[in-house]
């Protein structure tokens, strides 16, 4: 693999993903409106969820809005990752996946580039949300926005790899609704995005256990701690390992000798 060729392909894949994302006005608007609706409406109704306690990384009592902003940033990445997964299935059904996979570059590079491109595409929207959240008095330290960048990127890569792995397992576009119901919603609701772990433990130790094992919880905590200039090392390790595991699973799914492609009915 020639480095220059590989980088040109990466740039081309990134450009395509950005053009497609910006061109889909509805998706773009939904990406920013969805978390604002949660913040502006849902959070008002659930203000009492936190009760009276100080939860790290916060050093004082906080409003519920402050608590859920990192979770909503995670939600943006989760939904974007799943949308990308959906578009991979669509690309495969429509055939444009073939254009990508017949490029003279290793498949791991092509798929990795696609995940990276997807993640970098959504980051400006996540930052726009974080800035708009300041109107709700959610104001992390200025350097927190800088520190959150690697956390958001890693979380995005992990969720992108998860989406890619899912896309390799989904045979038809029609099955995607099932994935939404059985994978994405449980992943989002059984996590620390909307309520802290200690609150879950009080009500249901089982759900709390699931939330603790859920990689999405760790993605949210990584973002939350980074925004307040702290490193959550367990979350970092979990997110890194989960990224690798999901990516390996995706490579298996797209391997020409195994997984989806080998089972594919072509005619």
């Amino acid at each position: 693999m020639k480095i220059r060729h590989a980088l040109r392909a990466l740039a081309g894949i990134m450009r395509r993903e950005m053009l497609r994302f910006v061109g889909q006005h509805g998706r773009l608007a939904a990406a920013i409106v969805r978390p604002l609706v949660w913040l502006g409406i849902f959070a008002v109704g659930f203000r009492s969820v936190l009760g009276l306690s100080i939860i790290p990384p916060y050093q004082t009592y906080i409003l519920y809005e402050v608590y859920i902003v990192p979770g909503l940033a995670g939600m943006m990445l989760l939904f974007h990752g799943m949308q990308s997964s959906l578009s991979m299935v669509y690309d495969r059904e429509m055939g444009s996946m073939r254009v990508l996979l017949t490029a003279p570059l290793p498949r791991w590079w092509l798929l990795g580039a696609r995940i990276l491109a997807n993640t970098l595409t959504v980051l400006p929207i996540v930052y726009l949300f974080l800035l708009l959240a300041r109107f709700w008095e959610v104001r992390p330290p200025g350097m927190g926005y800088v520190a959150a960048l690697p956390a958001l990127t890693l979380a995005g890569l992990m969720l992108g790899a998860f989406g890619l792995a899912l896309s390799s397992l989904i045979r038809q576009l029609e099955n995607f609704a099932g994935v939404m119901n059985f994978v994405i919603f449980p992943m989002f609701f059984a996590s620390t995005a909307l309520y802290p772990l200690w609150r879950l433990e009080e009500v249901s130790p089982v759900v709390a256990g699931l939330a603790w094992m859920n990689p999405f919880s760790h993605a949210v905590e990584l973002i939350r701690f980074a925004l307040y200039l702290r490193l959550e090392s367990v979350a970092l390790v979990v997110c890194s390992l989960a990224s690798i595991a999901f990516f390996v699973l995706a490579l298996w799914g797209y391997d020409p000798g195994r997984g989806f492609w080998a089972r594919r009915t072509a005619d």
């Binding site: 081309g12 395509r16 055939g95 017949t102 003279p104 594919r264």
Partner: protein, 238 residues
């Protein structure tokens, strides 16, 4: 060296045997027609040759490079027009071509230069800033041919590209691709349309996953019309 060499290729999809002991070769500058009824295994063969998935048995070489063991140089010398349209409808013609060029490692300068050349030859240069969605079926197919030629491949595979086109559109596309062989390009043209074949073409007839005829088209039709000979090969007794 042969553009394509396939030896004893067999592949099953589930319980169904899609290809059975297929062997064929395509010389440089040759226009070879892969003819077969729907479901004969043409698209499976194209998927295996392009490395989308690996064959269970047999060997495929493109200019001497095994598609399984040495796929990068094999794919670099290959241009493909798939049966399904594969352009991004919401991107412009130029953006689609630039994406393909980047996947093949072309610089922006090279990409622009070759895109202009190919689009002009195919008479779609006037639409290069338009979204693909606004193009007619024939124009989209011509853009796909231009895209497949952008990285200067030496071997072009065209899989049922004329499906859905009117007579004039089909003729135009076919004539253009034939003219490329004069410049040294090898072409594998997969189709189920008998009227796309000329007597001097190399012809491979595929039926139920196995090769039923391999040779010049005129030799197959020497005693009869091509249609009658084809029906005999692919009929119930064929």
């Amino acid at each position: 060296m042969n553009a394509l060499a396939i030896e004893n290729l067999s592949h099953g999809l589930g319980k169904r045997k899609a290809l059975s002991d297929v062997s064929l070769s395509i010389g440089p500058g040759s226009f070879t027609v892969l003819l077969g009824p729907n479901g004969a295994g043409k698209t499976t063969l194209v998927s295996l040759v392009t490395g989308l998935y690996n064959a269970q048995h047999g060997e495929i070489r493109i200019f001497g490079h095994s598609i399984r063991r040495d796929p990068m140089p094999a794919l670099a010398s290959l241009g493909v027009v798939f049966e399904m349209p594969t352009l991004d409808l919401d991107l412009t013609v130029d953006e689609n071509l630039a994406y393909h060029a980047s996947l093949h490692g072309l610089s922006r300068h090279e990409a622009r230069k070759w895109a202009s050349t190919e689009l002009e030859r195919l008479d779609v240069a006037g639409r290069r800033s338009d979204k693909v969605r606004s193009l007619s079926g024939g124009q989209r197919r011509r853009v796909e041919i231009a895209r497949a030629l952008l990285h200067r491949p030496r071997f072009l595979i065209v899989d049922e590209a004329t499906a859905g086109l009117d007579v004039a559109g089909r003729r135009r596309l076919l004539n253009h691709v034939r003219s490329l062989c004069v410049e040294g390009l090898s072409v594998l043209w997969a189709t189920h349309m008998l009227d796309e074949i000329e007597p001097a073409d190399q012809l491979v007839v595929l039926h139920q996953g196995s090769v039923r005829w391999n040779g010049e088209a005129r030799a197959l039709a020497s005693d009869n019309t091509l249609e009658a000979a084809f029906l005999q090969l692919t009929g119930p007794k064929g």
